[in-house]
Symmetry: C2
Subunit: 258 residues, 2 copies
């Protein structure tokens, strides 16, 4: 419950656990995306990384994560390690892939990687809350997803795959709503799509698609800015961000053979 381990570390740094030389260990990491407006420029896709403080790849940036506990579900481990290392709580969490190449780490580690979204307004809010509480996470920094440094392990490749999945999923689901605050304009949502897809979208056509989908509820409020005020929308309650199929959102592997 109160583990303090960070990422897959060197063999010598795991005193209690069995010798990594002959055991396959399971780690859990998370690629968590958010959008942030740089200056007055267009919003960009960003993700938090953690600087490693232990031997394999010490000093390099890596995905937030940690070891899987013996009595912990995979989803719970992803949420826990993400919170422990970055102090963040995701608004959407989904398993990405299990990476297990023998040569991806000095010791044998299978990483169950999740990808997640964080509401744009929660980035600053959660960071500020932790700063006020005095438990601000250390060695955490946000990077633009399109311009990352060389990361530890195969994490560059993992982020590349997570981006690919996100760009795919944004096309056939309402997943981008997970980046939005409670109320937002269609321009906000469109800019999130543009940040993910890396190309501009026609505002009129975008509006048509969203309205037809029925996933948004218009409010009577408007956001006033430099120009004509824009109507604020809220996400429809009964619409899931994505169709998980037989994998239930909260308890993924249930329902069969009790």
């Amino acid at each position: 419950m109160t583990r303090t381990s960070l990422l897959p570390a060197s063999p010598s740094s795991a005193p209690v656990e069995a010798s990594p030389a002959d055991v396959t260990r399971v780690a859990v990491s998370t690629v968590i995306f958010s959008v942030r407006r740089e200056d007055d420029d267009c919003p960009r896709l960003v993700l938090p990384l953690v600087r490693r403080t232990r031997d394999p790849f010490e000093g390099l940036w890596a995905l937030p994560g940690g070891w899987l506990d013996i009595a912990e579900n995979l989803d719970d481990a992803a949420s826990r390690t993400l919170a422990e290392t970055t102090g963040l709580t995701a608004s959407y969490l989904e398993q990405l892939y299990a990476f297990g190449r023998v040569d991806r780490s000095p010791s044998r580690v299978v990483s169950i990687v999740y990808w997640a979204l964080l509401r744009a307004d929660e980035v600053d809010a959660q960071v500020a809350a932790h700063a006020a509480a005095g438990d601000a996470p250390e060695n955490v920094e946000w990077f633009p997803a399109a311009d990352l440094p060389t990361l530890a392990f195969d994490h560059n490749h993992i982020v590349e795959y997570a981006l690919w999945r996100l760009r795919n999923k944004v096309g056939y689901s309402r997943i981008a709503h997970g980046l939005m605050a409670d109320a937002f304009t269609l321009a906000d949502l469109r800019e999130a799509y543009e940040a993910i897809l890396g190309r501009r979208l026609d505002p009129a056509n975008f509006r048509r698609q969203v309205e037809k989908s029925g996933t948004l509820v218009p409010t009577d409020e408007f956001r006033t800015g430099s120009h004509r005020p824009a109507r604020l929308y809220r996400p429809h309650q009964d619409v899931e961000l994505a169709d998980r199929g037989p994998l239930a959102p909260t308890a993924p592997h249930e329902s069969s053979t009790p």
Copy 2:
């Protein structure tokens, strides 16, 4: 290399390995689909299951699989355990999901599950080859995917999810080609789609879609039957069954940070 272990077994049956009571072990299983024509009826989606011979769920049917070796990539483990338990070699193999609920097994087991396709003509061919060689796999039986018995562990749920992924993927990729022999008619391919999707497709519209996709090469041969002969097609060489994105088909986690 010459392991003979079958599925995740009871603690007492793993003498050399560390005690399962305090270690999370990694298993690999595979849901492998094929199509078989029942009688002169329409083809159906079938999959092979293995009857368990050890304690947890002994006697129940389960997915083919086994333990991950310490120096073995995940993909290799899926191929190896599939061959060891069923004698089959898949024509397409893709990671499905990592299942790791604490309560899915008496001991803590994280299962990296793959899903695969087997060419219809290879089902009988591979079985016959093993029978001739005297190493026919035991306790293996094919079941219709739509009508399975109660399986061990959470395997019913896993098959359900694999079916969902297959039905999804068949809509936006050429994955169904992995079920076809070297040469096949459009009716063969359409019936595979129908078996997967569970509904009839219009032959004319199906032909139009396939021809436009450019994934098939018409031959000069025809299959003669009870009615007008049907032209035989071959899959286009340069067309992958599915877009894996940054995950290369043979060596999934490479290319980054050398």
